[in-house]
């Protein structure tokens, strides 16, 4: 197809491509622009700042909102990384078993994962809120990490079992014929082959944990465990009458940077991970 496109078709594709680019990036460009507005500019109702300043970044990184934002950033990074690590660890074993071993109950596990994935998270916030208060997990890291597994585990299991099905397992059998045990074959032969899939799963899982708002806002109450999305909802201006929009925009830009970096570096893998886990095996 590509070889025989005419100039006119080519131009149309570039226009369609430009439309997609504008669609995807315009709101991001707006929040970036907003983050560079000075307090006086916030109300100018223009897309661009009259004068780009770093006031908002100063406020959240070294100024008044510093404790609020930096502790939330620390919580977000710590909680999302740990929740991702746990989900990937558990689902790697689980997906290996599903893709490779013969045992009854595979279908039950995949169906459970699907059921958990479509589960309305707010439904378990009420009981967890009550339970966590009783056993002292309310407003702690583990108190957020544990429910995050309900978000990250199901998709990890689906994505990884899809990846693992494509691994040439004859290599493992060859290793076993050569005298390796199942476990050795797994560790020496399969782990290196499986690493890209595991890595992709980790990225997708991290996005989900990084994105969470429901648990973050319901199961925390202070800077001890509140992640960034929840903390943004509690931002206030320097005074009661000042609009927190600038500070929120600056914080929003900072938490979007890791996401953009991951997308830029691994777009191909993320796309294949998302589509494999959901559509085909």
């Amino acid at each position: 197809m590509d070889e025989r496109t005419t100039l006119r078709q080519k131009a149309l594709w570039w226009i369609a491509g430009a439309a997609v680019l504008i669609y995807a990036l315009f709101p991001v460009a707006w929040i970036v622009s907003l983050s560079f507005k000075s307090a006086a500019d916030l109300g100018n109702r223009q897309f661009l700042p009259a004068d780009a300043v770093l006031d908002n970044y100063e406020m959240i990184l070294v100024g008044d909102a510093q404790t609020l934002f930096l502790s939330a950033l620390r919580n977000s990074i710590g909680i999302a990384v740990i929740a991702t690590f746990l989900a990937v660890l558990l689902s790697t074993f689980c997906a290996y078993a599903i893709a490779r071993l013969e045992f009854p109950g595979k279908k039950v596990i995949l169906t459970t994962a699907l059921a958990v994935a479509i589960f309305p998270v707010i439904s378990i916030v009420t009981p967890l809120f009550n339970l966590w208060r009783h056993i002292g997990l309310y407003d702690t890291w583990p108190g957020v990490i544990i429910p995050y597994l309900s978000l990250t585990l199901p998709i990890s299991i689906w994505t990884l079992s899809a990846f693992f099905r494509q691994i040439p397992w004859e290599l493992e059998q060859a290793a076993q014929v050569d005298g390796a045990t199942t476990w050795q074959a797994f560790r020496r032969v399969i782990v290196p082959l499986a690493t890209p899939g595991v890595f992709t799963t980790a990225i997708i899982s991290f996005f989900i944990a990084w994105n969470d708002f429901v648990y973050g806002i319901s199961l925390t109450s202070t800077e001890a465990a509140r992640p960034v999305p929840a903390a943004l909802a509690f931002f206030t201006g320097a005074s009661q009458f000042e609009d927190p929009a600038g500070a929120i925009a600056a914080a929003a830009v900072i938490v979007t940077i890791p996401v953009v970096v991951l997308v830029l570096l691994f777009q191909r893998r993320i796309v294949s991970g998302l589509t494999q886990g959901a559509v085909k095996g």
Binding site: M1, T5, W13, G17, V20, L21, A24, P27, V28, L34, L42, G43, R45, L90, F93, C94, A97, L101, E102, P104, G105, I109, A113, A115, V116, I118, P120, I122, S123, I124, V125, T126, P127, F129, N130, L131, L149, P154, F207, N211, F213, I217, P229, L232, A233, A245, V255, T256, V260, L262, V263, Q267, V271, L274, T275, Q276, A278, V279, K280, G281
Partner: protein, 319 residues
């Protein structure tokens, strides 16, 4: 289960091959269970247990600020909710948002998938990268971007859109139900269409090119090829994408929380559950709302699977 079977020398000679096979199979089965069990148990612990707890607590009149007055009241909470206009209004708003976002996203997502599928080779990685940004961005961040774009104090959108009848620069978008819901829906569409389009893109990629070429040779127009060849051949992918998005949209929370906090009648079911529990500390009522939301999601899934005969396993190529 106890496995005391060992290969004794006396019996080894009689039927060695099947014995060894079955023992290997048994070991494999055991290993499978051991590897899969932790993930399975954790999934159950973090969802099945809390929802059971919610079902139990929904049967009590129980307010956290007054724990001594806790009282078993059977299904009273459900009766209170189901006879209250607040619940039905929240359901109505949720269904409205779900229906519009899913319908628009199906069309827009398909168009995006077609563009990505057929775009010039140089453009493809660029488009894929761009489309992943809304998918991966934090929902709350997207909600703030759309909120501030339309906000009466900080926004530029109303003055840009002032050519639309009924909109002036000073329109208070979040001051009335219709416009507030419209912006909530817009931000939801922006954020989640990429996901649907990636799923559809995977479906498109599975259609054999010969089929389309053959239809072209037979003189089918572009539309005919789309309707008669492309769409029927990716029905499974379309249905799975729609099911996932419907359930996701029905659980909408972040956008509503950030943009309106349920004001102007924009309260959705998830927000109602949150408000009962976290703001009003009505554990009993909040649990009942949670259980009802859970049942709604189950109902939607069953309806989709029965109505459209989706076989999720076959859609993944497992059957």
């Amino acid at each position: 289960m106890s496995i005391t079977e060992t290969s004794r020398p006396g019996t080894a000679g009689s039927a060695p091959a099947p014995r060894r096979m079955s023992e290997r199979a048994r070991a494999e089965r055991r290993l499978g269970w051991w590897l899969a069990a932790p993930a399975f148990v954790v999934m159950l612990l973090v969802t099945a247990y809390p929802i059971a707890q919610a079902v139990y607590e929904s049967l009590f009149k129980y307010r956290l600020t007054d724990p001594d007055a806790r009282e078993f009241t059977w299904l009273t909470n459900y009766w209170v909710i189901l006879t209250d206009g607040v619940w039905w209004r929240a359901v109505g708003v949720t269904v409205l948002i779900t229906a519009i976002t899913v319908a628009v996203e199906a069309v827009l997502g398909f168009a995006l998938a077609l563009v990505m599928h057929r775009a010039l080779r140089v453009l493809r990685p660029l488009l894929r990268t761009a489309i992943l940004i809304p998918y991966a961005i934090i929902t709350v961040v997207s909600a703030f971007a759309w909120l501030y774009a339309f906000d009466i104090n900080t926004g530029f959108a109303t003055s840009w859109l002032s050519w639309v009848p009924g909109i002036t620069e000073d329109t208070n978008v979040f001051g009335s139900f219709g416009s507030a819901v419209a912006v909530i829906i817009l931000s939801e569409i922006w954020k989640t269409t990429p996901f649907i389009s990636l799923l559809l893109l995977a479906g498109l990629a599975q259609i054999p090119n010969d089929l389309l070429e053959a239809a072209k040779v037979d003189g089918a127009t572009w539309w005919q090829r789309l309707y008669k060849v492309t769409i029927p051949n990716m029905k499974a992918a379309i249905m799975v994408a729609l099911l996932f998005r419907t359930l996701d949209a029905f659980r909408i929370f972040d956008n509503v929380f950030i943009m309106t906090q349920g004001a102007q009648g924009t309260e959705v079911v998830s927000f109602l559950a949150y408000r009962q529990t976290i703001s009003r500390l009505e554990i009993g009522l909040g649990s009942a709302v949670s259980v009802l939301l859970f049942l709604s999601v189950v109902l939607i899934s069953v309806a989709y699977i029965k109505l459209f005969r989706i076989n999720l396993a076959s859609a993944r190529g497992e059957a």
